[in-house]
Amino acid sequence: MALFSVRDLNVSFTTQDGMIDAVKGVSFDIEAGDCLGIVGESGSGKSQTFMAAMGLMPKNGLATGSVQLMGREMLNVSIPELNSLRGRDISMIFQDPLTALTPHLKIVNQMEEVLRSHQGLSGRDAEKVALGWLDKVQIPEAKRRLDQYPHELSGGMRQRVMIAMAMLCNPKVLIADEPTTALDVTVQAEILDLMVGLQKEEGTAIALITHDMGVVARMCRDVHVMRHGEFVESGSVDEIFSAPKKDYTKSLLTAMPRLDSDDAPHAVAADAETLLSVDDVMVHFPIKQDRGLFSGTVLLKAVNGVSFDLRAGETLGVVGESGCGKSTLARAVLQLIPPTAGAVTWLGQDLVGLTSHALKSRRKDLQIVFQDPLASLDPRMTISASIAEPLRTFRPELTLAERKIEVAEMMERVGLDARMVNRYPHELSGGQNQRVGIARAMINRPKLVICDEAVSALDVSIQAQILRLLKGLQYDFGMAMIFISHDLSVVRAVSNRIMVLYLGRVVEMADRDVLYDEPRHPYTRSLISAVPIPDPHLERTRQRLRIPGELPSPLDPKAALRFIPSRLTSDLAYQPSLKEVSSGHFVEEHDPLETLLDRPA
């Protein structure tokens, strides 16, 4: 008999619009020591399957069927009975480790209560076990972490704490619900490595819920593809990835941009004029720090000397991990945040220091698409009003009828149904709202569009559609794009040239193929090697490049010298310089990779 077995599980929710069936008759088994992947897009019911099993459904949820752990029924049993299983024999980790940990309790308290409830351990004994697990999940300075609060830890450390907490009682099954989705690629890779280690060393079976085919390829043996509450296709990863039978599985696999695919963006014309030139731009924020009676400030150098040129029709990709300053850079280029220093030259004229009136006339050609499409649209304006707004500002001579025609044409161009004109953002899906955001940005045919994580919040299939749309629009209108993303595969799919940012500085910049084929800087190399590729064979043989240590705090003066530690002893103010190693390929000065790898974390 299987360790964990789900039979004919149905989950439905009573809502104002009637009953909604989230999971429709799902059955599967997990064997001891196995790693099972459940893949699907948002709303497929993949999380709800396990929420129901763990008794974590909202009150309007109803589950039928059977969920058994080691032969014991878990579904719809009393809370005390369920509590004798969950946390002890089966435990769960969640997507966002910041909100998933209680903010006002120290790590040690949150871990201790598990041991007290399930094993009667408390005080010193519990602390010892907790510390042991923090060590096992490789948290640096584990002992200090015990007395810290979740917000004092980095995202990666928080997820390690979550895992340590889930493993405290050596559970038979660990359910991981999108455990790495909110994390940076390098951190994701380390968390995944950690989970593989636990599976091997502790024999814990893992149920991995994810939308990311690359993660599945790296982690799982068997996989179920889920859609609309049902399994579309099930099998071993090798079968599913090499010979998918169902169209939906195929579309999921093809939708995902891959590091090893050969989809090239449109080439830039050789005689294209330089539109934008950014010269040594800096954005520094004063951060308040309490020092006794009077508070002082320290400078957070969010963007610290970035330069680049952009030609008409060109796409510049900007990649980097959270906190590297990529969004701040975008806002500084558009003068949404005034740069502390440097010049932003647009069509031969410096934008820095222009009056807001002078800037406004240039904004017609400078547009931006934001990450969260719902939050960046005015909830009280219909989508057609949002799309028409730039027309009213920049082409006031248009009559109402002309404006309507323009909006209708634009909506059709971005793939929005004409019947949606009077809808509000909350009535549309994430993908549709992002089309509205793009239509709004494009309606005046701008010369430059900045896409700031424009597809990051979308499902892979929607993401692929939006990327195709952006490329098509660029081909038609010939605008330049700055494409900002933390996702290296996505950036690779659209960009001609790519810039890698690390703590406000460019560490490497090169043409797309050069950057991915011959990365020079250790940071770029570790980033690229951390990206999972949706191909199980490749994933098993790929060597990851791990640079010791976590992404340091940008306030740490040593942070900027992470890749050139030989300067740490002599001159903390040293600024590594950018060198052109071959035509158009810039690499920041760094110590040889071998020395970096030998350094202790």
Partner: protein
């Protein structure tokens, strides 16, 4: 945190100065004065009286003398209405009374309100919830000037259980009705805020994590949900604390408690400049202090807040 507290208290000085200056000017420009009456005094008599209280001086001089006496002698001046008492006496007499029933009202409103709110949220959409919500709305809808007469009618006139007024050194039968009258509407608001806050917290991700850890529900409520639930309640409690502490004119009138509220309103009506100003400064100082305590309390409720 000590540094922060000191900075905040230093910052309170200009606030209070501004408050005093504004009140001082506003009182002076209001029509009438402390010695205006239906039958006007002979001009010579009026001039003599005004000279005695310094009212014949230019306004800046009056203001300066007033501040000087407060800062160096802690003297808020004589009352213009009561010949034999000064402002310090009036506050010393009324404030302890207001403080007693005000503080008890605060405790009652907070403890009952929070209990009701938590019970309603834990038993969401059950009869307990409906009962608590109705009780809260009813309590909130009953202002103390309605509660006062109703309480006296029922408990003094019909049932004869409680004395209808007086203070009697704060003996408990004399406290019950003032406390109930003053606390009910705050209790209703606190119950409502607590309930909605607790409902939101119970829906949060970390409560889901706590449940997945298999720890008992009671512990989840107490250890994980209580502090974040009370955070919005605390920001409401700050102003409530000042309101109830400084007494209520209605409670003072209905129950003849002799608290500061009555003296405050009385002084405003009779243009008793110094009493009015003295009580205003007291209230202002209390507000500044309570706001500081509220802000410091945040840090205990939420470790992300550090001063």
């Amino acid at each position: 945190m000590l540094g922060y507290s000191i900075r905040r208290l230093l910052a309170a000085i200009p606030t209070l100065l501004l408050l005093i200056a504004a009140s001082f000017v506003l009182i002076q420009v209001a029509p009438g004065g402390p010695f205006t009456s239906e039958r006007p005094l002979p001009p010579q008599v009026l001039a003599n009286i005004e000279a005695r209280y310094g009212l014949d001086q230019p306004m800046w001089k009056q203001f300066w003398d007033y501040l000087y006496n407060i800062v160096f002698h802690f003297d808020f001046g004589p009352s213009f209405k009561f010949k034999d008492r000064d402002v310090n006496d009036i506050i010393a007499q009324g404030f302890p009374i207001s403080l007693t029933y005000g503080f008890l009202s605060f405790l009652a409103a907070t403890s009952v309100g929070v209990t009701l709110g938590v019970a309603a949220a834990i038993r969401h959409n059950t009869w307990i919830d409906y009962f608590a919500v109705s009780l809260g709305i009813a309590a909130q809808a009953l202002p103390n000037f309605i509660m006062g007469p109703i309480l006296i009618l029922v408990f003094t006139l019909y049932l004869g259980w409680l004395p209808g007024g007086g203070w009697n050194g704060g003996a408990w039968p004399y406290l019950i009705m003032p406390v109930i009258a003053l606390s009910t509407s705050y209790m209703g608001s606190i119950a409502r805020i607590t309930r909605s806050s607790m409902l939101e917290v119970l829906n949060s991700n970390y409560i889901r994590t706590a449940r997945a850890k298999g720890i008992p529900e009671r512990q989840i409520i107490w250890k994980h949900a209580m502090k974040p639930t009370l955070l919005p309640v605390v920001s409401y409690l700050g102003p409530v604390f000042v309101y109830v502490l400084t007494g209520s004119v209605f409670v003072d009138i209905y129950f003849s408690t002799g608290g500061l509220g009555q003296a405050y309103v009385g002084s405003a009506l009779s243009r008793d400049y110094s009493v009015l100003l003295g009580v205003t400064i007291l209230y202002g100082g209390l507000t500044v202090l309570v706001n500081l305590i509220t802000d410091l309390a945040y840090a205990w409720f939420d470790p992300k807040i550090r001063y």
